[in-house]
Symmetry: C2
Subunit: 461 residues, 2 copies
């Protein structure tokens, strides 16, 4: 295989690649709206046809919802021992409000926006454009070499924009078939235009609602104030204990298993210009709220948090009512990083609540979700090779970034298939995914395809 | 004057006194309902007629709402230097739900309820029965002696059950005419059946709503969690700081001016049997929430409090939303005792909030009410004489009790007329005031009248 030949092939084939992207974008595969049921299925069938035409053993697989596309390449030329899964989704978000679109969302075009050449249309970025960067890269590899360098399984989902209700069942039912050494997912962003990135870590989440009850009815503070326990007082005292003066969470064992950021990564993050002025000022904030002494990106990506997402108790309407309410409640969540045990964190929180309850207060707990943080080790070969491939393509150091939230597919791959995921995406913050006038930079599509060719080629070595 | 003759007169006149109470209860003086406007006025006119017939210089005085009844007795025989104001109200609460009454609320009767002889009907206790205990006592004093022992001004209001909208203006406009040495108010309860009481202290109130704003919009905790300030975290940390481990309020200077309970009073309260089992268990509580080492009644009556009456922020519906809200707010109130300065308490709270705000949070304050606590000194002659009179009548030590709430008329008399109030009432917790089937014990009416004769007689000495 000559990588140069593959890249040249991608360049030469760009017009045809764009035609294929346009074909796919024209299919109105809105999974959330039953009116588009047939269009969604048509997009799945399109994927099967394209993959079969490339030589994959491709099939449309039924689920209780929209079908999965599964395609296997079993005849790797370079290193058939390596099995990589490639994941994307063929469904898109709804398009309303339609009147805010400058053109038909399902009639893709090339246009120049703010001096940048882009492909327009719903799904041009999320995720049809991104998905095709992987497929077009494989097309070129196969065209030049007659085969892929490693064995590949493609999984394309049709319900990602609807919460993936059929995904976990499908993974469980087909675990053996789908388990690979590593998954590559193209559904994330670069750090910035021209600055490629791999998302190496995702935070998990433990959500917990706590309801504190004191008296068995609301009381008048003129009759009971001072002697009657007030659940808001109890609750705020407990919640007020969760952080220390340095922004650290005070639950015992909260940081057990949390690893410090390697100096090299910290240094690379310092080159990203993610100052409070850039990251916080746009939403009216100035100073990072997290642990003192940790950088802003570190706080967002690789440090666990405790936040109160909702609280309510007593009288909250206009004016004033001197009530001692019977109940008060809060929704508390913890963003977790790799190494933390969600069950242990939940238990530590519950223990804190129970320890601080006065004898007259009772706490009830309602769990909401519990998923661990996930991180590729910074020295993971998948990560190291991916970064090298991206740097070669973009002529700039690629950066390992984090994501402060969860991405369910990554957790599902890890939990159900024991498979790590490498998140490489070429989206940009201004792609307007989920909004009117979605676009994908032509550069993202073209250099994204070239990037994947380099990444896949590198897997064999 | 022979007090025995006066008391004998009250006994002999009881049937006629009851007839007069029935006459007044029959007047449907519901001040809250405009449909009863004429009935309310008729009750005022009834009071004027009765007081004029006793020899008072009585008049109906117009206000923007219902009229005031003002009557003066200027020809005291014993000690004309003493001027006492007597206050009650002639209006009553609405009667709905009418279907829960066992009989017409405005057709009073004598009946036996749970073995106790009672007068039934709306206003039988609140406040027509209580008001007439004062007027019937004066009637007997005048009948026997030809005059009252001290000079008396009677003020009877017709909007007490509607928030007294005309009262303060009337007091201000007629301050000189109405200012006396002391006010006697008959609109409160005994400690228990057979155990007379004077309410010697009322708590004041400072209400304050605080709104904390961090970011200028709601944020996603996956994108900002850890680095973005969360106003619920800020608010709960502040509110959680307001009490120490001993239940004391931690605001600097909060207890300045607060006096300790005299040992004699503490001892008398210990005779009242006000255990947590009696006071708290009925509402599902067990242990007093206030300052450790202080009795339950002390916590309710003579110690200041801090309570959070309402709190809200973020997502409070079903399920979970990982939002970092822009705002969170709480309604905080302080029940104050005599000696505390409401303005200083409000300022101390605001200072605490400001001191604990991180740089990215802004607090807004909305004041709601501010009234000082009020207390008769435990050695006040009015109080001492009143207790002696009650003890003589009821053959049991009378007790100085407190009230954990404010009574607006007492504050208005103090603030606008510089006049202390002595609250003597013969209501009982089971009188069902404001509810269907209101009643007043016949004993409360009869011995209440005799009690007032003793109190008024005692004022001259």
């Amino acid at each position: 295989m000559s990588l140069d030949a593959v890249l040249a092939r991608i360049d030469a084939d760009l017009p045809a690649s764009l035609d294929r992207l346009f074909d796919l974008v024209r299919l109105k595969s809105i999974s959330a709206d039953p009116a588009f049921f047939a269009d969604v299925r048509a997009a799945a069938e399109w994927c099967v046809r394209e993959l079969a035409a490339l030589g994959f053993e491709a099939s449309l697989r039924e689920t209780p919802g929209q079908p999965m596309v599964v395609a296997h390449w079993r005849g790797a030329v370079k290193n058939p021992a390596v099995r990589a899964l490639v994941y994307g989704h063929y469904d898109v978000q709804p398009v309303d409000p339609l009147n805010l679109w400058h053109a038909d969302p399902f009639d893709p075009k090339i246009e120049t926006r703010d001096g940048v050449t882009v492909v327009t249309g719903r799904g041009s970025a999320d995720d049809k454009g991104q998905l095709l960067t992987m497929i077009e890269a494989m097309r070129a590899l196969i065209a030049v070499d007659g085969a892929l360098p490693v064995n590949v399984t493609v999984l394309v989902e049709g319900e990602e924009e609807s919460g993936s209700p059929s995904l976990e069942g499908f993974l469980e039912a087909n675990a053996e078939e789908l388990s690979c050494d590593v998954a590559f997912i193209c559904d994330t962003n670069m750090w910035a235009r021209g600055r490629p990135a791999i998302t190496g870590s995702l935070r998990g989440l433990v959500g917990e609602e706590v309801v504190i009850t004191c008296a068995d009815r609301d009381l008048h503070s003129g009759l009971f104030g001072g002697a009657g326990w007030n659940p808001i007082r109890v609750l705020t005292r407990i919640l007020g204990s969760l952080h220390d003066d340095h922004g650290r969470v005070t639950l015992p064992g909260f940081y057990a298993g949390v690893e410090d950021l390697p100096e090299t990564v910290r240094a690379s993050w310092e080159t990203l210009g993610a100052s409070p002025e850039v990251m916080l000022a746009p939403v009216g904030l100035q100073t990072p709220a997290g642990e003192k002494g940790r950088g802003l990106l570190e706080q967002l990506w690789t440090r666990p948090t405790c936040d109160i997402n909702g609280i309510t108790g007593g009288y909250t309407g206009d004016g004033f009512k001197t009530v001692l309410p019977s109940k008060a409640s809060a929704k508390v969540s913890f963003r977790l990083v790799a190494g933390q045990d969600p069950a242990a964190i939940r238990l530590a929180f519950r223990n804190r609540v129970e320890e601080m309850l006065p004898p007259d207060a009772v706490a009830e707990f309602h769990p909401h979700g519990g998923s661990p943080g996930i991180a590729l080790p910074f020295d993971s070969p998948w990560l190291v090779k991916g970064l090298a491939a991206l740097e070669a393509e973009w002529n700039v150091p690629a950066v390992v970034i984090g994501c402060g939230a969860s991405i369910p597919i990554v957790g599902a791959f890890q939990r159900l298939l024991g498979m790590p995921s490498v998140l490489v995406g070429f989206g940009l913050d201004d792609d307007r995914i989920h909004s009117p006038n979605e676009k994908y930079d032509l550069e993202s599509f073209h250099k994204g395809t070239r990037s994947w060719a380099r990444i896949f080629a590198g897997l064999a070595g």
